[in-house]
């Protein structure tokens, strides 16, 4: 064991000597690996980032929630056909709530986009949600300050608001949002709660931290006519396991509410995250595979570069190999020397590539969620070492099995 460690250490020193002696060549070879590892690590952190933001977004929505809507999230139906459906109204919601027995919470939702102001500070294009006090029960919200608006506030359509963390940060840099009066689309609202940060989400420019929640009545009163817009009914199943049953019940209740006969088609859609997840996962999956394939290819090209250089290096150092063998280097010593040389080049390249990847990820993170994980370090080290060993194997073997007499005669 000690002899082996000794041999590895000495081979390592010899390998480093050889790399140092051929600085230009070594660094050019390294470049291939640097690019390859950078690409692989950036790609995998980007994928991780997509995944993470996806998970966060999903869990903030809740996996056990159904969304009864005029529109279907995923459908093969023609758009105009969906458009022709009757709006879902507040009355539909009230009757649905009365009749449905399974849901743990039911809440109507209407959305709008508004500008929010506090003093001189303003946030444009904020996603406004109007709902009832039950809305909070259909989510997994946590609060950094205050609470959700109460049933009384909701029923009496008081001008109270719950704001997302991003908005709180922008309007109240000192973190004193609670009880302040903000202007939503020109109307005064009192802040009763601030949500904890949920993290950015991948989908378009939708940011869950850039939302505001107000009683649904205040939306109709101030921002849009009650009769013109279709609402969404959020229905939360008592548990994820009961989602399917809740859905079946919801469909039946909804058909009754809408007064449909046996022969009528549903004139509403029951959406759920599962479909969203499946679709998005398949998209993400394709991105992942394509991305890893392309970046893997660049690494592969780098590996071929290493192999090529190592073959040249072995040929060029035939004499040196002969000398080493003559004075007692064993086959495995020579093998180890060249393997260590190629894997050291790759490892250095891998670490430099990792550094680049981290910097690049930070840069990309400005526009697109990436997430540099500790496992990126492991990926970089393992991938580059493996590349070095695989690329070095054939040349090192050629060197190891050289005949010392022939090698010494080589000019």
């Amino acid at each position: 064991m000690r002899a082996l460690l000794f041999e590895i250490k000495e081979s390592m020193l010899i390998a480093l000597r050889a790399i140092k002696a051929n600085k230009v060549r070594s660094s050019l070879t390294m470049l291939g690996i640097i690019i390859g590892v950078t690409a692989v690590v950036v790609m995998s952190t980007a994928i991780k980032g997509i995944d993470n933001s996806f998970q966060t977004g999903m869990s903030s929505l809740g996996t056990d929630v159904l969304y009864i809507d005029k529109w279907a999230w995923f459908t093969n139906e023609d758009w105009w056909k969906l458009r022709a459906r009757r709006n879902i109204t507040m009355e539909d919601y009230e009757r649905f709530k009365e009749m449905a027995t399974l849901p743990s919470a039911v809440a109507p939702v209407i959305n709008s986009r508004q500008t929010i102001k506090y003093g001189d500070l303003r946030v444009e294009n904020v996603f406004l949600n109007g709902s009832t006090a039950d809305y909070v029960k259909t989510t997994n919200f946590t609060f950094s300050a205050g609470r959700f608006y109460s049933e009384i506030e909701s029923k009496s359509s008081r001008n109270v608001a719950v704001i997302g963390s991003e908005i709180a940060k922008n309007l109240f840099p000192r973190g004193d949002a609670l009880d302040k009066t903000i202007k939503i689309g020109g109307v005064n609202f009192q802040v009763v709660g601030v949500l904890a940060e949920q993290g950015s989400w991948l989908l378009g420019n939708f940011n869950p931290d850039n939302q505001v929640f107000i009683p649904i009545g205040t939306v109709f009163k101030n921002f849009m006519a009650r009769s013109w817009n279709s609402i969404t009914i959020n229905v939360r199943a008592p548990s994820p396991a009961l989602l399917e049953e809740t859905k079946i019940e919801a469909e039946g209740v909804m058909r009754k509410v809408r007064g449909l006969t046996v022969n009528d088609e549903n004139d509403f859609s029951i959406n759920q995250q599962e479909g969203l997840m499946e679709t998005l996962y398949s998209v993400v999956g394709v991105i992942q595979i394509a991305g890893l394939f392309i970046t893997g290819l660049s690494l592969f090209v780098g590996a071929i570069g290493i192999m090529n250089i190592m073959f040249v290096s072995v040929k060029e150092r035939t004499r040196e190999i002969g000398i080493r063998k003559a004075i007692g280097a064993k086959r495995r010593t020579i093998l180890g020397q060249f393997l260590l040389e190629s894997s050291s080049i790759c490892l250095m390249g891998g670490l430099i590539g990792l550094l680049f990847a981290v910097l690049l990820s930070m840069l990309i993170n400005q526009f697109f969620p990436t997430s540099v994980q500790y496992d990126a370090v492991i990926i970089a080290i393992v991938v580059s070492l493996l590349t070095g060993i695989l690329a070095g194997l054939a040349p090192a073997y050629t060197a190891a099995k050289m005949d010392p007499v022939e090698a010494l005669r080589y000019e």
Binding site: F6, K325, R332, V405
Partner: protein, 238 residues
């Protein structure tokens, strides 16, 4: 006590469909602390014999005992170990690692022998001092003269305290004065109890040895003691 005991050794090379005998049925014994020169014109088989004696190659047939151990059918790795511990090579073209300094070159066989850093540094330094290169330890081969390079090679050969020193035309690439100095160094090494085998095709170099073996066409033509042994005119570390 025989250090080298060769019995009916042959080495055949396959050239195309033809078999070429580089050595035919050669038998030879060399004792401890002998100073032997192997001579012969090119194609006589002296290089082949030298490779076999140096355990760089194995015979096609016949027996080779080194220090009483049969090496004729050893594996590559076993031969490497024998070369490392028992044989010190000195080549015509020096065969030093061009990118390493003298000290590292001399230290190299000790690395392969598994000697720890401090000890092998000390031994390599001493070997270089012994061949008169105290001030050249950190010079690379291209910063040294031919004679100095050969001294580094000799230091490398001696540093493992081998049973034999095998020198293949050690003065072939040197001018005659430097060649004389190197031969003086060999005489000095021999006088300290080392066994030296010298391969050369030059009579005046061979005459430094105490015994000359002449090869021709793969056979030993003549094996005799040198009567008028040439003694070095110069001191070893001049």
């Amino acid at each position: 006590m025989n250090i080298i005991n060769i019995g009916h050794i042959s080495r055949v090379y396959q050239v195309g469909s033809e078999e070429v005998y580089a050595l035919r049925d050669v038998s030879l014994r060399i004792d401890k602390n002998e100073y032997v020169a192997i001579m012969g014109p090119s194609g006589s088989g002296k290089s082949t014999l030298m490779n076999l004696l140096g355990c760089l190659d194995t015979p096609t047939s016949g027996k080779y005992e080194f220090n009483g151990i049969s090496v004729s059918d050893m594996s590559d790795n076993q031969l490497a170990a024998i070369r490392n511990k028992e044989i010190g090579f000195v080549f015509q073209t020096f065969n030093l690692l061009a990118r390493s300094d003298a000290l590292h070159n001399v230290e190299l066989p000790l690395i392969y022998a598994g000697i720890p850093y401090a000890e092998r540094r000390e031994r390599a330094e001493k070997a270089l001092i012994d061949v008169g290169l105290k001030d050249r330890m950190h010079h690379k081969p291209n910063e040294l003269s031919g004679g100095q390079r050969q001294r580094v090679a000799i230091a490398r050969a001696l540093v493992t305290k081998p049973s034999i020193i095998l020198a293949d035309e050690p003065t072939g690439n040197l001018d005659s004065k430097t060649g004389e100095e190197i031969m003086a160094l060999f005489a000095d090494i021999h006088s300290k109890g080392n066994t030296i085998i010298l391969v050369t095709h030059e009579e005046y170099i061979a005459e430094h040895a105490a015994r000359i073996i002449r090869l021709r066409d793969g056979l030993i033509e003549n094996d005799e003691k040198v009567i008028n042994r040439k003694l070095p005119k110069l001191s070893a570390t001049a």
